[in-house]
Symmetry: C2
Subunit: 315 residues, 2 copies
């Protein structure tokens, strides 16, 4: 087996890497994303792949994308931060580069990467939760990426947590990511700080409650600040309710937590495990194991590249 | 291919049937369930199978059971209405009868039956909702029964619908079946009737608000009674929220509604479709199609028998 290229196309930057058969990234590149110019986006990707191909023989390309990916994995139907153009971007890249291209949703790609090379190795059924600005997800069921009948499975950020709850930009109310995401944590922390309820957070933000970030909260929680710990616990409890709901449907033995908040480690994972045990604990159903992701920001490109190797889409 | 026996073991009766390769029930039997006497339960099942075998050559046995079925499908870990004994019942029956026996959760069995021979034919990904006294479920994903890592997937009756909601006998609060089941409908209808808010229901129950049944509600709703229609709509809206949550996770293109309330037909299905469109409708995600189940009470035994034919468990 030779090498494959993985791409992680985000709203501000494109990360590209060459993956060897063991899942190691042996070369990488980074470039800004032409987010509103589809032809420029394609050119930027083509240039990166051509550059990487100079040093490595490449068999296929996998692209991880934030957004609704077509069920045939040839393009993106809708990306919240990025205009992919009308022609399926995978087809366009395949034509130009002469290689098979697989487009995969970023949560699915990350789930596959952790399953193959990271925290989820050896577990056939697992839920990946990507706790970033929003909440992404991916499902590995019976050892395969589960995409759903229309390709949009594992949109767990928009799982309905609270009927008539906080409005979500998706048009619904009470979605999980309004309660258990980086942006929810930041929103709640700023409100707590502005109310005078979190003096250490205000201090960390240089005196400006509106400058508090999610990272400040997790850092202060690690240092033992009670207000920061309370904010993280609230997030953990909301996330546990969402996972409990998924547990009722899919009963995954393993949940892998990734994204920026996941990488904060035990300060988030320990209260999540406790909240999940409280929400689910009973003798028959059991409680899924919770592990932190291992591949960090590389998960998207590693997973997409590996999927391209194992299940290429041909025109 | 020859014939297989399907069993549907419930808390009060055991239904048994012989299934031909096209999924037709060509012989059937019914017997009372010895619910608290495991040896008597086994004897009753053995007697039924021996009787059916006299007229048909049988290759395997599939048993549909309400309860937590072991992931190896050899027995029942826990049945809410029935004592299966300590030894896995499938193994015990296999030893006595000399045939492979597959034990399957009743929701899974019904889902498989509808997928193979009923409302879900030709659709690879579908959710089955069994609206009975409680709410059962089954998942067909990529054309196969999805059981989850521990065998307890699709316990959708215990999906958390309302945080801090109505207590459920399962030990949690706010479970779907507290809002969208036959027992929830009956509870709400009796309360409405007792408050004087549903005179036609009280009349149908012979003047006793506490004798109102779910069936009276659906029958009166069919006849146009506004209070009954309102009760069914409330149930449909709660069920739609639960399905919307599952949609965020699995995005099934088809939902099949079975059980007693499902068999009430359009009086339940039409408001469910409307509520689901209201809960989910957006251009990208789509709304799953909702169909009524076609196999009625036979779904459990048909599905279990067909699973035994196609995926026998051998000791």
């Amino acid at each position: 087996m030779s090498h494959v290229v993985g791409l992680d196309v985000g709203g501000t930057k494109i990360a590209a890497g060459v993956l060897d058969p063991e899942g190691r990234v042996v070369a990488r590149m980074l470039a800004p994303t032409p987010a509103a110019d589809p032809p420029a986006l394609r050119s930027a990707i083509v240039d990166m792949v051509e550059e990487l191909r100079r040093a490595h023989e490449v068999d296929a390309i996998g692209m991880s994308a934030a957004g609704f990916v077509r069920v045939d994995r040839r393009g993106v139907m809708f990306g919240p931060n990025l205009d992919y153009g009308v022609e399926p971007i995978g087809d366009a890249l395949a034509d130009t580069l002469g290689l098979p291209v697989v487009v995969e949703n970023d949560g699915n790609a990350a789930a596959w990467a952790e399953h193959r090379f990271g925290a989820g190795q050896g577990v056939a059924d697992q839920l990946m939760v990507v706790l970033g600005t929003g909440v992404g997800g991916g499902l590995i069921l019976d050892g395969r990426v589960y995409r759903g009948g229309h390709g949009l499975a594992a949109e767990i950020g928009h799982l309905g947590l609270v009927p008539e709850g906080i409005p979500c930009p998706c048009g619904r109310r009470g979605c999980l990511e309004q309660y258990a995401s980086g942006s929810a944590l930041e929103r709640d922390a700023r409100a707590r700080a502005a109310d005078g309820g979190a003096p250490a957070l205000v201090e960390a933000a240089g005196g400006d409650a509106h400058a508090v970030t999610g990272r400040m909260v997790t850092e202060l929680a690690k240092a033992g600040d009670q207000e920061a710990i309370a904010l993280v616990h609230e997030l953990a409890e909301a996330l546990a309710l969402g996972i409990a709901t998924i547990h009722a449907v899919l009963h995954p033995p393993l949940v892998v937590i990734g994204g920026g908040l996941g990488s904060a480690g035990e300060v988030v994972l320990a209260p999540l495990r406790a909240a999940l045990a409280a929400a689910l604990g009973d003798v028959h159903r059991g409680v899924p194991e919770v592990r932190g992701a291992q591949l960090g920001n590389d998960a998207g490109l590693i997973g997409a590249a590996d999927l391209a190797r194992h299940a290429p889409v041909t025109r």
